[in-house]
């Protein structure tokens, strides 16, 4: 598809999605440019998936402007979808078919020839490290393998834009790293990725730029690093107490940290020098069960912006 370099691949202004009285997406603006890895970070129910389904041209916007690859999703939905790769939140693989058949049948939906599809299936299955399982049925595959197959399938039409809705939710850490590794390679090849996630480490690993979503709105935008610099401190001290601390830590905020967040299970002290803050805790005569000094993450950005954690425990 011919899209000039300056035109964003996705252009959204005042985008709204309503389901009856529920406002899932409440007027968001964003642009995604060619070659970028763009993320929507937010907890469940923030409106990420609804946004993805509008970008995927399966769910029409309730209001606002949306243009994908320079086209109007309402009018040119089929033409746009012909150039999208979609990895949905829930797998839509055909369990009765083999791994290779899944890629080929999906490719047929795009009108590609069987001969060409056999070639592409071999190539893609090798890319996602499933070439040895090509003739096995899908059902017995592990969750991570199914996810990688979904990714292979989404690439069969050589998409201009790859949409990944929570690509690693539900996978064990090793399987997640395998998926991230493949997505990182795609990024290096210049693919444009749009992904949603509620894992801050996923956003940090993969996204060049991201928006933080909460309750249908965008609350911040930037690169992972920019967001951390803007909304958090360099380091964080996490304290866990066996019992309630004998006095209110927040009265000591000036001497200890720039900001204190008290969560039900732990207390977070935001500071530029974690070790110095940890030392001060002991000088104050406090005896937490555990003290952990770590770098700030997007989780801290989200907590600061919304007062809530990303993954509800």
């Amino acid at each position: 598809m011919d899209v000039s370099e300056q035109t964003p691949l996705i252009h959204a202004r005042g985008l709204v999605k309503r389901f009856g009285d529920l406002v899932a997406v409440d007027g968001i603006d964003f642009d995604v440019h060619k070659g970028e890895a763009f993320g929507f970070l937010g907890p469940n129910g923030a409106g990420k998936s609804s946004t993805m389904r509008m970008i995927g041209c399966v769910s029409p916007p309730s209001d606002g402007t949306l243009s994908i690859l320079g086209l109007d999703p309402q009018r040119d939905g089929a033409a746009i979808r012909a150039h999208l790769g979609v990895v949905p939140q829930l797998d839509t693989l055909d369990f009765e078919l083999t791994v290779r058949e899944n890629v080929i049948i999906y490719g047929r939906y795009f009108g590609l020839s069987r001969k060409e599809l056999r070639r592409r299936a071999d190539e893609l299955l090798e890319f996602v490290q499933l070439d040895e399982r090509a003739d096995s049925r899908v059902e017995p595959l592990s969750g991570g393998m199914k996810r990688r197959l979904t990714i292979a399938r989404s690439l069969v039409n050589e998409p201009n834009l790859l949409l990944l809705d929570e690509p690693t939710t539900g996978l064990d850490p090793q399987a997640r790293h395998l998926v991230w590794d493949r997505l990182f390679r795609l990024k290096q090849r210049g693919a444009t990725l749009v992904l949603t996630t509620h894992y801050m480490d996923e956003a940090e690993q993969l996204c060049d730029r991201l928006v933080v979503m909460d309750k249908g709105r965008i609350v911040a935008e930037g690169s992972p690093r920019e967001l951390i610099v803007r909304y958090s401190t360099r380091e964080v001290v996490e304290l866990r107490f066996r019992d309630e601390p004998s006095f209110d830590l927040s009265t000591h905020v000036n001497g200890l940290a720039r900001r204190i967040e008290a969560l039900p299970d732990r207390t977070l002290l935001y500071t530029d020098d974690g070790d110095a803050t940890a030392d001060r805790i002991h000088e104050l005569g406090l005896h937490p069960q555990s003290v952990l000094v770590r770098r700030s993450t997007l989780e801290d950005v989200f907590l600061h912006l919304t007062g809530r954690t990303l993954v509800e425990e």
């Binding site: 389901f19 399966v58 089929a78 012909a82 949905p88 939906y109 009108g111 039409n157």
Partner: protein, 258 residues
């Protein structure tokens, strides 16, 4: 034209899926007619033929066989558009896979119905072959009986698919079978002429798509079909098909957009 091409792309998915299960379904579409015709024709038929003048002036097995062809078409058409349709939205989610490609709601529905049509046509053709083996064919018009069966099957599958696209659970499907499919099977002229029914019920039977399918098949196989009546049957069955597809297009689009 693209809409037709798209429908065939979705049809290919169903064929790929069918390649894994076709052996079992071919066996049952062969065994069922043999069992039914043996039990009803040879078993029950010998009693019927002795006790009274057989309906339509033919032996009972020859009378009941074309009706069974139409009834089997109804059952396959209904079954293929209940659980498989809801399952493609809820369980396998294969409709959503298609919807993320250039295929739209109309071609997704049409592709699946093309597959149901294939299933019904195969079953009706096997049925006709079994009827021929039992010596039940009285007219060359019988070659059109599988087409009549096809129309009968689709007259059920199209509206039922439209409904199944709105279903959240399969409880309604048992209701469809218990209160629509089974009563039609028993009372729409498959086993006895509907003129034997009380007058009020006879009119109900006239309204059922199955009676039109049964009467059409019987007319073709026994060679008693009247041109105008046959056209009327075809038109009535087509109306259910077209209506079902029109509503299905809307219910499919709504479900996919949610």
């Amino acid at each position: 034209m693209t809409a037709v091409a798209y429908a065939f792309r979705s049809y290919e998915f169903w064929l790929a899926y069918y390649r894994r299960v076709w052996r079992g379904s071919i066996v049952s579409s062969f065994v069922n007619p043999v069992f039914y015709l043996a039990a009803l024709g040879i078993g029950l038929g010998t009693l019927v033929n002795k006790s009274a003048a057989p309906p339509g002036g033919v032996t009972y097995s020859h009378f009941v066989a074309p009706g069974l062809l139409a009834a089997a078409a109804m059952q396959i058409g209904s079954a293929e558009s209940t659980w498989p349709v809801m399952g493609s939205f809820k369980w396998t989610r294969s409709y959503y896979a298609m919807a993320s490609t250039p295929l739209g709601a109309a071609s997704i529905l049409a592709g699946h119905q093309l597959f149901v049509a294939t299933r019904v046509l195969i079953s009706a053709t096997v049925y006709l072959a079994v009827i021929a083996a039992f010596g039940g064919i009285h007219s060359w018009l019988a070659v059109f009986a599988p087409v009549a069966g096809l129309l009968t099957g689709l007259a059920f599958s199209a509206p039922i698919a439209a409904f199944a696209a709105t279903a959240e659970s399969d409880t309604a499907f048992s209701t469809i079978f218990r209160f629509l499919v089974v009563p039609m099977f028993l009372f729409s002229g498959t086993f006895f002429p509907i003129s034997r029914l009380p007058v009020a019920l006879e009119w109900v039977a006239y309204a059922t798509p199955l009676w039109h399918g049964v009467d059409l098949c019987r007319g073709l196989v026994l060679g008693t079909a009247h041109g105008l009546a046959a056209l009327g049957h075809v038109a009535y069955l087509l109306a259910w098909i077209v209506g079902g597809l029109a509503v299905g297009r809307v219910t499919y689009a709504r479900r996919l957009q949610r």
